[in-house]
Symmetry: C2
Subunit: 359 residues, 2 copies
Amino acid sequence: MLKNKMTELLKIENPIIQAPMAGGITTSKLVAEVSNAGGLGMIGAGYMTPTQMQEQIKEIKQLTSKPFGVNLFVPNKFAYTENEIHSANELLQPIRNQLHINEENNLNIPTCDQVIETFNEQIKVVIDEKVPVCSFTFGIPSESVMVDLKQNNIFVMGTAATVEEAFIIEKSGMDMVVVQGSEAGGHRGNFISPSQDSLIGLMSLIPQVVDHVSIPVIAAGGIMDGRGLMASLCLGAMGVQMGTAFLTCIESGAHQIYKEAIMHAKEDQIVLTRAFSGKYARGIKNKFIEEMEKHEDLLPEFPVQNALTQPIRKASSSKQNPDYLSLWSGQSPRLAKNQSVKMLFKTILTEAKNINKKI
Amino acid sequence: MLKNKMTELLKIENPIIQAPMAGGITTSKLVAEVSNAGGLGMIGAGYMTPTQMQEQIKEIKQLTSKPFGVNLFVPNKFAYTENEIHSANELLQPIRNQLHINEENNLNIPTCDQVIETFNEQIKVVIDEKVPVCSFTFGIPSESVMVDLKQNNIFVMGTAATVEEAFIIEKSGMDMVVVQGSEAGGHRGNFISPSQDSLIGLMSLIPQVVDHVSIPVIAAGGIMDGRGLMASLCLGAMGVQMGTAFLTCIESGAHQIYKEAIMHAKEDQIVLTRAFSGKYARGIKNKFIEEMEKHEDLLPEFPVQNALTQPIRKASSSKQNPDYLSLWSGQSPRLAKNQSVKMLFKTILTEAKNINKKI
């Protein structure tokens, strides 16, 4: 019932991808357990150094013989003024003081060239390690990168928030497209349409994309169980990518206070903010988001603001304080459970079967 | 396959409700055709006088013997300052001049008492005419109204945008709840949670509501075809309420330029605005929305701003000019077709059957 072109292309059993959440969530254990359960485990490597990436890939290969993937952030040009940094620092300094952070730690802002260099090295690791699947967020890599990946038989996926973006991803030669509904937690993946106008719910996004592209479409955003999987298939998707549902799993590397925050959140407490990174992302409203709310427009863009807030998030985490952490979550926190990956898969597949019988 | 508790309770054949779009869209022909096709036709009576309502109800009874319904806006207290009216008028005057509107037409602002009086008369019509179904938007009517409706065996439905709102609707004694996803066109139905935080996509909203209430849940927002119907059922809804899909139907009373605008729109051109009525609503971005964008926070609340813009919308319509019309639409305009209600039902039911076989 759940076998289709997507499972065939990815050589997996079940049409379920574990979303490549960046920032230490996708432990080797999480990725391998997902792949071992017949899904596709993914490393959220956006913020990783090439060395960290390579080490984790080697580790995962010890834990599973099944396909898995890596997700990378496509570098985009960025710029900032001293003025922007100054006013952001002015807003952040009281929080840094409160958390006893030394100012010198705050200035680790990368240059565009550094970001591009890291990305190219990350691509080299993907190729060297023959990672079966590579997905991208925030755009489409250069033609030469695409050619390199294809020549090395790496399966390539893109992330789209609108029909036009999905169409461009298909045209770039990618093998599959993940469509990110407005329900999705974490960073918005839009790269052409502006963030605020590309918040399309999956009920609308999936069928409209499916009607306009011929590569398989994977649905992402708010999907937590067999109901979401079956609904996505009805709408024309070939599979789902689930983030929050895996984030609260036992094997995920998310901090326990982060998991707890999701499991206690309500759907209308999950908001969009660019306060943490300079790019819009969806997460649980906390003290940091509230304090920054009125100043969002003044903050520098990604990844500059991300670099400026990094020590704050780190200190908040080590102090077990959720107030200044980025608590990314999709819009279905009430469905989150702290369970094993194996149990999550078992429940999803049972639910899917029951729905199939009932409907 | 599509028969369930919802169709049984409403005494209809197919779990499809035509959304009660206000403002002349729900002609008697549209409502009756939907009911005759086995769905539930609904009069969008929010802006109607009791007399207009009664006339239309009588007309519909001539056209169908099947159940149909009426939707009313629950009155909410509102207030405004002369200052607000003044600054709104300052923004609107250039547009009025351009459309050759006389200023004296603009000042038809109702009082709270008038709104409540109209509502009570509307309720009386519903009871006098024994309308089978009455649904509400913008809240819950008083206990005495609820008792009156129940004593007269009128089936009562509420509109919710969050789990909490659905829960409160159930507690109030309503028989069914329509959950409005962020995809939905027209006015946001939230009445407790703030508008901006209650934009929950149906993929998230349906299962979370279904887990928290025991009355049947109807899904609304971006649903246009058999794919959306089947997806909603998978997520646990018992039926769907569709607006935009019926709005572009031949039988709908929407202006031809409005229908055309939807059929040419893309999903990322549909935005939220409070510029037309003072309450957030989703529609196609046009000149009016663009011009008001920066001043939205200054505008008076519903229904004050609605009264101030009414002559503008009317003039724009009679001049065949979509620039100053409220072009409400859900997030799936690419799926809209100009077809008969009968054909729309036929397509939905065929698609639903095919999906059922395939999945």
